[in-house]
Amino acid sequence: MIQGWKAVYYREALLLRRRFWKTLGTMCVSPLLYILAFGWAMAPTGQGGGGMGADYLRFLLPGLAAMSSMTQAWAIAGEINVARFYWRIFEEIQAAPVAPGGYVLGEVLAGMTRALLGVLAVLGLGFVFGVRLTLGPAFWLALMLNAFFFASLAVGLAMHIKAHADQALLTSFVITPMAFLGGTFFPVERLPVVVRELLLLLPLTHASRAARAAATGAELPTLSLVILLTVGAFAFVFAVKSVARAKD
């Protein structure tokens, strides 16, 4: 059922190792800009973070970590598309005795590895800017569940798109809005009820909430973790079915 996952993961790990510094540098750019613009330049003046002042950076960082785990896990779709549309390497994997579940597991773990690296990059930047967070198991669990969901979704959707450009479209319409509205930059609790309830449908909102609570010592929203686990399981099954059907 999951035959071949190690080989699929190994391939992605080799590619990541070869491009490690370039990838790490890319992962740092957006978080650094957000920290500089919203957390550092605007927050002390009260213009950013809803008047939270210097504490805003401490609020922002777990949100950025959640956002980074989402975008980096999602980025595995780009790798898959390059392998499918440009280099045709997906066909090499399809011609091998690799089970659809094995392929998905290997790629999802690769997405989660990228996500972990992205989170470490955010935390490293936070450290440079003097932010200290509590990084207990609950923090990592929230972010890895988030990465699991988005990597699974990415693998599944990558099997349905017909061209690399469609992937950019999905990112523009789904991932980018979620990055801004999923509780990364502001507490969704401050929004009107209707909007808040809508934003609670986004998995990233739950990841941000859980990671923030774990990092700041607040009470852990267990329901958010359960939701992430549930949607992750659904996304994984969707990805396996999509890979199994990806022929012709």
């Binding site: 590619l15 390497i89 066909e91 011609a95 005795p97 022929k247």
Partner: protein, 283 residues
């Protein structure tokens, strides 16, 4: 070793395969010839699990490719038309990933990689990134990779397309050596000389149908021994003869210049379908 039974495949508005029946014996090098779009690659894609037939059966070593895909895949090696190597990995890494995909362990990987790199004269390129290699070297890496897990059946889909003649001949020698090792090979090509040089038997595929089948010698002898090419307007007209003198006289009696040569597989395809193999156009 390979059996196709009434195989049909249709894409959108086009029939790619229309009831193909074929049998390839164990250890045979079988060439599957036809113009672009004849259905050669579709057949290979079905046999390697990349496509599903609409009807009919495809069997490898008695195993149905749609019912037991994992077992069939474990038996087969594929060297596709498109170079699908990981450009950012080294030659050795590409081979290693392939071996792992087929469940090979570390000692097996090392010994098989060394053996195949040696066999295809790639040992000194093991640590080179694929993106730094020439087209000919990449083709050899494709072949080395396909052989990594010791397949009993090897599918070579246009393995020498785009290569210059010298490199093509080098690859032919490698393919012959693989065949002499007992591997069954299904070779798709539109290069006549490739099939003539390598194949034990040949099938001509045209518009999704097998239109001729036999050894190259049998197929050519059925047309004659000598061929006369004569230019008629902008078209080249070819006529085949058993007797050289008769062919010579026929050419000499024509209105213009002519070329006398031996019959080849292109003539067989032309005589069978009325098309040129090179572009599939009606002649």
């Amino acid at each position: 070793m390979i059996r196709l039974e009434n195989l049909h495949k249709r894409y959108a508005k086009r029939d790619a395969l229309c009831g193909v029946n074929l049998h390839v014996s164990a250890g045979e090098l079988f060439a599957y010839l036809g113009p672009n779009g004849a259905g050669k690659t579709t057949t290979v894609r079905i046999l390697t699990g990349l496509s599903v037939p609409d009807s009919g059966r495809a069997l490898v070593d008695g195993l149905d490719v749609t019912r037991e895909p994992a077992r069939v895949k474990a038996l087969c090696g594929v060297c596709g038309q498109t170079i699908n190597l990981d450009q950012d990995l080294t030659v050795a890494e590409n081979l290693e990933v392939h071996g792992r995909l087929f469940g090979m362990d570390a000692p097996q990987l090392r010994s098989r990689a060394a053996e195949n790199l040696e066999r295809l004269e790639l040992a000194d390129r093991a640590r080179s990134l694929v993106r730094e290699l020439s087209g000919g070297l990449r083709r050899r890496v494709m072949l080395a990779r396909a052989l990594m897990h010791g397949p009993r059946v090897l599918f070579l889909d246009e393995p020498t397309v785009g290569l210059d003649p010298a490199i093509r001949r080098k690859l032919w020698a490698a393919i012959r050596a693989i065949r002499e090792g007992g591997t069954t090979i299904l070779l798709t090509t539109h290069y006549i000389e490739e099939a003539e040089f390598l194949a034990d038997r040949v099938a001509f595929l045209d518009q999704g149908r097998v239109v001729a089948l036999g050894t190259p010698q049998e197929l050519m002898e059925a047309q004659g021994v000598w061929a006369v090419d004569m230019l008629e307007g902008t078209d080249m007209r070819t006529t085949c003869f058993r007797d050289r003198a008769e062919a010579q006289d026929f050419g000499a009696a024509g209105p213009g210049s002519f070329t006398l040569r031996r019959v080849n597989l292109e003539d067989v395809f032309h005589a069978t379908t009325g098309r040129k193999l090179a572009n599939g156009a009606a002649a």
